[in-house]
């Protein structure tokens, strides 16, 4: 699971990019960083190794690679639902190009209204932007779109 957002698995976030097992004791997992500066990378590598050990593998390789470059479209539907459950608005889908205005009417995770404003595209972690809902008068955070 993602160390900072416990409701979501790294598989649903699109972080796990390759899985291979050439024999019953061998396991290979490739991860891709969400953000170059994500501080949870090393922790996630370790958590994956721990999980594989627990599952009974003995020859374990976990590598982090930029071979597949992560973007928010790689979050699964299940992942988006988990983000919402955690109180975070999921990122709007994009076709690789977008301007800041896609952040100006993000659906409020609390009341579902689109009558919201962008407060700042930055937030307490690299993946978050901060918003305000004019409908229910709550501040909320969104998982911001990344291409």
């Amino acid at each position: 699971m993602d160390p900072e957002i416990p409701t979501i698995s790294i598989v649903d976030l699109g972080i796990v990019t390759k899985i291979a097992s050439e024999s019953p004791e061998k396991a290979f997992v490739q991860l891709t960083p969400t953000f170059s500066g994500c501080p949870a990378l090393k922790i996630m590598e370790q958590l994956v190794k721990d999980a594989l050990l627990e599952a009974g593998y003995q020859q374990i390789t976990v590598e982090t690679s930029f071979e597949t470059q992560w973007n928010t479209n790689m979050i699964s539907e299940k992942g988006r639902a988990a983000l919402l459950q955690h109180g975070l608005a999921p990122p709007p889908k994009h076709d690789g190009y977008f301007e800041l205005d896609v952040l100006s009417d993000i659906e409020c995770p609390l009341c579902s209204s689109r009558n919201t404003t962008l407060h700042t595209p930055f937030g307490p972690t690299l993946c978050r932007s901060m918003h305000y809902c004019k409908n229910c008068s709550n501040a909320f955070e969104a998982f911001k779109p990344v291409s």
Binding site: S36, T120, P124, L126, S147
Partner: protein, 256 residues
């Protein structure tokens, strides 16, 4: 094309200048943490600092694969004369007008350099450039918003921002100081070269500054401030490094 020793040296030089710029500017940006003029700006600079330091790590990792030392060793044990960063990034954060202008000048250069490198023949660098592209977008959007907004502000805002633009411009030109390997980098398809990058950057910056309502400094009469790429730095870099490495230096062999 087979890489000669000179090609590899040129690639390493390019990676060092990029990674060093990002590490030093990342450190400077982090100095706004707790001091930002408003909370959202405090968060903005802190967030962008984290991005930049993370990007420097990705580049130091590529250097490590090419035979250089481990990223922590490279980042925390070199002295000023071993850094290939430009003078622009080591200057103290100053007032917010300077920091915003530096952010505007540097981040557009970074975005354009990365864009050129999305086509490099060096695969690991190509992948990393494609990753950085999406991250840097938020940085340039932020810089543009502030430059645009302040030009529409008070007289003080306009005067201070224009002054910061004029004073910072010679330092900004130092980002494009030529390496000894320009020909090699271009011929091997590694990188299109500092001259091409500078030309594109001047065009982009000029258009934006004019649109926002500022005066673009005159490139013809501006003397670029050079030296950083060759390890010649201002008096500000070593104290920065001393502070940045203070905790690491207590016990360089410790496991954090």
């Amino acid at each position: 094309m087979e890489f000669t020793d000179k090609h590899v040296l040129g690639l390493k030089d390019l990676l060092y200048r990029m990674a060093d710029d990002l590490l030093i500017l990342g450190h400077r940006n982090s100095e706004w943490t707790g001091l930002g003029p408003i909370l959202e700006e405090d968060i903005a600079f802190s967030s962008m600092a984290q991005d930049k330091i993370g990007q420097s790590l990705a580049l130091y990792e590529i250097l490590h694969e090419l035979g250089e030392s481990e990223p922590d060793t490279v980042a925390f044990t070199r002295n000023a004369e071993q850094f290939h960063s430009c003078h622009l990034v080591e200057l103290p954060i100053g007032e917010y007008d300077f920091s915003l202008v530096r952010h505007f000048f540097f981040d557009h250069q970074s975005a354009l350099r990365i864009e050129m490198l999305t086509e490099t023949v060096v695969e690991p660098l190509q992948m990393v450039a494609r990753k950085f592209r999406g991250e840097i977008k938020y940085h340039t959007m932020h810089a543009d918003s502030w430059l645009k907004q302040l030009a529409l502000g008070s007289e003080e805002a306009k005067i201070r921002m224009q002054q910061a633009i004029n004073e910072t411009f010679p330092y900004a030109l130092g980002m494009f100081e030529s390496s000894e390997f320009e020909t090699e980098l271009i011929e091997a398809g590694i990188f299109g070269g500092e001259a091409q990058l500078k030309e594109t950057w001047l065009r982009v910056i000029s258009e934006k500054l004019n649109n926002f309502g500022y005066t673009m400094p005159d490139i013809e009469t501006t003397e670029p401030i050079l030296g950083g790429r060759k390890g010649v730095h201002t008096e500000f870099l070593q104290p920065l490094l001393d502070e940045m490495t203070e905790v690491f230096s207590i016990d360089p062999s410790a496991d954090w």
